[in-house]
């Protein structure tokens, strides 16, 4: 604030000086110049009268000559004074206005406003460094989920962009270089409310600097998901290793993430679908929403909705894959595909820089001749992974055209052969094979989000958008930290397991993306469950019953139970070595008879209605009692007293039933 006042004062110093000097001279002139009163005597204006006259002379000329009519000498001085004071007034007002319009002044004004906003923040927030495609998507999603974020970007234009993109949410934004620690500090890094720093700039070394600054500026805090989360985007493995070396909680390499997903989809399409369902961003364009409203009744159109989520699992073929571009993306894809046993062939424009494996083809991939050299007709899939969107599209289109051309010549050949009865059986089979292969699996890398529409039109099987990949990953980390754990466990499961999960989820998810949420069995989060846990064991099934009709169950499944294993028996040992590490046990897709313990963390997946109902049941003792026993608990003290006997009997019955049930099972 002080900066602002001082800058302003400094700027208006000269105009003020000029104003005072001119007034001084003019007033002095009026006092010294002799005038005449109505009797014709020589009369000198007093300072009071002179100041009065000069004051209105500058602004509203025309009050007249007071208190007595002026002499010619006075009039001459008035003419001079008018021009002097009016000019200086105009200059002063202009100077003040231009100071207010000054970019530096505006910048300071904005920074002050930003600082005030940061100071007023009373809720947890995330610091997003870099408002590019990814930052934009992430900030939007966080705002949709009612999570506050603070944005820093080096480009002031992008900060202006934020105001246009998010008109309904007040996201504090600062134009500044995030690699300077003071900028990070200004943005509230050191505030205890800052829950995480997300470095999304497109330069690895800037992200690295942010990570280092975050680590050093908040020494008292633990770099961990529960305290201060540190998420970095990294594009090279060097930077990744460097970031990991000082405790960055999550490092997201978009190419690695995508390549891993692609490999997963090749190995197990169902597992990939689960992955996509759970991490997808609920991002819908406004145009698409309008479409949905106008064509809402048409079911056919509903399935065409441009969700980032597919209804059907995609099935990438196994065979030869052609990869165009062997940069960071191409390398990651090739490595992960080779890992799951897919043969790859690389086309690279600058082999001397990227060192592709032997047998690679030198060329851009945008010309038919290079593709022919790579035997595109034999390949089952093509990956366009250069850093140029136009080239990527061109590669895909050229490859498709090439296949079409080959297929057409073969058709002609066959027609020719059949006409002259030259057909051999072997050849026929081969040609039919070629006909089937006509469908080429296409994967393209989309570098810029503004090319979205073109890529959508290109009918690609798989589009790699770094922005939505990174945003999706980070969002799932922020919203449901357990999801990350679940997915890493799920990746190791077999296809059959994923199919089972899909059939369970898709039984109640119709068109929407499934919601995932997390509950911890504790007094704070689930008071009702904690209350009944003191009285006896609780099965997982019980929690999943519908609160309006306990015979039905909610539309959700439990994906994961995460349990802390306390090491109570050897307490001495624990005291002597107070290591912070606790032992965990994870139960993947637990069955209905799973016994819940206090402190368990549960990850659910289901529709949004179930999510709300579940929040109700686990916190309301009366509702939960209904789920447990089928009876409703009276609310007030009087009714509780009246029903006490009934309740006691009811509990007895329940315990008897349970004990008989366990006896039966023992037998």
């Amino acid at each position: 604030m002080n900066n602002l006042i001082f800058l302003f004062l400094k700027r208006i110093r000269l105009p003020l000086l000029l104003l005072i000097t001119s007034y001084a001279v003019v007033i002095l002139g009026f006092v010294l110049i002799p005038g005449r009163d109505d009797q014709g005597n020589v009369w000198h204006m007093s300072f009071f009268h002179a100041f009065y006259f000069v004051s209105f002379m500058g602004s509203t000329i025309g009050f007249g000559e007071i208190p007595y009519e002026f002499t010619n000498a006075q009039r001459m001085w008035t003419v001079f004074s008018i021009y002097i004071t009016v000019t200086i007034w105009l200059y002063s007002i202009g100077a003040v206005l231009s100071t207010l319009q000054n970019p530096t002044f505006k910048k300071i004004l904005r920074e002050n406003e930003f600082r005030r906003k940061i100071r007023r923040i009373k809720e947890p927030f995330y610091l997003i460094c870099g408002y590019g495609d990814t930052g934009k998507l992430l900030a939007h999603e966080l705002a949709e989920n009612h999570i506050l974020s603070v944005v820093i970007d080096i480009d002031p234009e992008r900060i202006d962009d934020l105001l246009i993109n998010e008109p309904y949410v007040d996201i504090p934004a600062l134009a500044g270089n995030a690699s300077y620690p003071e900028v990070l500090e200004k943005a509230g890094l050191t505030k205890p409310d800052c829950r995480g720093v997300i470095a999304l700039t497109n330069k690895d070394h800037v992200n690295l600097k942010i990570a280092i600054a975050a680590r050093l500026l908040s020494k008292k805090r633990v770099i961990d998901d529960s305290d201060l989360m540190l998420v970095c985007r990294a594009e090279s493995s060097d930077a990744e290793a460097n970031m990991a070396s000082f405790g960055t909680s999550h490092i997201i390499n978009p190419y690695e993430v995508f390549a891993r997903r692609l490999a997963l989809s090749v190995r197990s399409p169902s597992a990939y679908l689960v992955y996509e369902w759970l991490t997808s961003v609920h991002y819908l364009d406004e145009d698409d929403n309008e479409d949905d409203i106008s064509e809402g009744e048409d079911n056919q159109n509903k399935s065409d909705k441009t969700h980032l989520v597919r209804e059907e699992p995609i099935c990438p073929p196994k065979g030869l894959w052609v990869i165009c571009g062997y940069g960071r993306f191409g390398k990651a894809v090739a490595r992960h595909l080779n890992y799951v046993g897919i043969q790859t062939r690389v086309i690279e424009a600058m082999p001397e820089l990227t060192h592709p494996p032997e047998g690679s083809i030198h060329g851009k991939g945008t010309e038919a001749i290079t593709l022919r050299e790579a035997n595109i007709t034999e390949a089952v899939a093509i990956v366009a992974g250069t850093d140029n969107d136009a080239n990527n599209l061109s590669i895909i289109i050229t490859a498709k055209d090439e296949l079409k051309r080959v297929w057409q010549t073969r058709q002609q050949n066959r027609a020719f052969n059949s006409r002259y009865h030259l057909l051999v059986d072997d050849e026929l089979q081969q040609e039919e094979l070629a006909q089937e292969q006509h469908k080429l699996f296409t994967v393209a890398r989309q570098n810029h989000s503004h090319n979205k529409d073109v890529f959508k039109q290109a009918e690609l099987d798989f589009i790699m958008q770094p922005a939505s990949i990174i945003a999706g990953e980070i969002l799932s980390i922020i919203k449901t930290p357990m999801l990350d754990r679940f997915l890493s466990l799920a990746r190791r499961q077999k296809d059959a397991w994923a199919n089972l999960l899909i059939s369970r989820i898709s039984s109640f998810i119709e068109e929407d993306v499934p919601n995932t949420w997390m509950l911890e069995i504790s007094e704070q989060q689930t008071p009702a469950v904690a209350y009944f846990l003191k009285q006896g064991t609780i099965m997982l099934d019980e929690m999943l019953r519908h609160p309006r009709n306990r015979d039905k169950s909610l539309n959700c499944v439990v994906l994961l139970v995460h349990r802390k294993i306390s090491r109570l028996p050897n307490q001495k040992n624990r005291q002597s070595a107070p290591s912070k590490r606790e032992h965990f046990k994870d139960y993947l897709l637990p069955e209905g008879d799973f016994e819940i313990q206090k402190g368990d963390q549960l990850l659910f997946c289901g529709d949004s209605e179930s999510m709300n109902l579940m929040c109700w049941t686990v916190s309301n003792i009366n509702v939960y009692n209904y789920l447990r026993t089928g009876y409703e608990l009276p609310g007030g003290y009087v009714w509780q007293w009246i029903y006490k006997h009934k309740l006691l009997r009811q509990e007895k019955l329940y315990s008897q039933k349970e004990s008989s049930g366990t006896k039966a099972s023992i037998k």
Binding site: N2, L7, L16, I20, T21, L28, F47
Partner: protein
């Protein structure tokens, strides 16, 4: 030699001297206190205030404060003079003149503080 330093010191010292010129003399004798002197004191004091604006140092802000105090005193004195001369029927009697001069005495103290601070700053900087 820096023109800014020269003008800075000039106006601060000038404000004091001219203020003293008005103050000096019998306190209730209108003949000893000329209206022109008060006018000059006000103008110089205002200019000194403007010159002090925008200095971010600690001593700079104290200097600005003393100057503002001097301005207030001198303007008050001018207002009293103008009121009794033109609005009230009494005119400028020795009583009124005593009031005006004593008020301007307050400004004199403020201006002395200003000059003392200036001298201290100069001694400390030693350049």
């Amino acid at each position: 030699m820096d023109f800014e330093r020269v003008s800075f010191a000039f106006f601060i010292v000038f404000a004091l001297t001219i203020n003293f010129g008005f103050f000096a003399g019998d306190i209730d004798n209108p003949a000893h206190h000329h209206v022109m002197e008060l006018y000059a004191a006000i103008i110089i004091s205002l200019i000194a205030t403007i010159i002090k604006l925008g200095d971010r140092t600690h001593i700079g802000s104290v200097l600005l404060a003393t100057s503002l105090v001097a301005d207030l005193h001198l303007l008050a004195a001018a207002f009293i003079w103008g009121y009794f001369q033109h609005v009230s029927d009494t005119g400028v009697t020795p009583d009124v003149m005593a009031t005006i001069v004593s008020v301007s005495g307050g400004a004199l103290i403020a201006n002395i503080t200003s000059v003392v601070l200036l001298v201290i700053e100069t001694v400390v900087v030693r350049r």
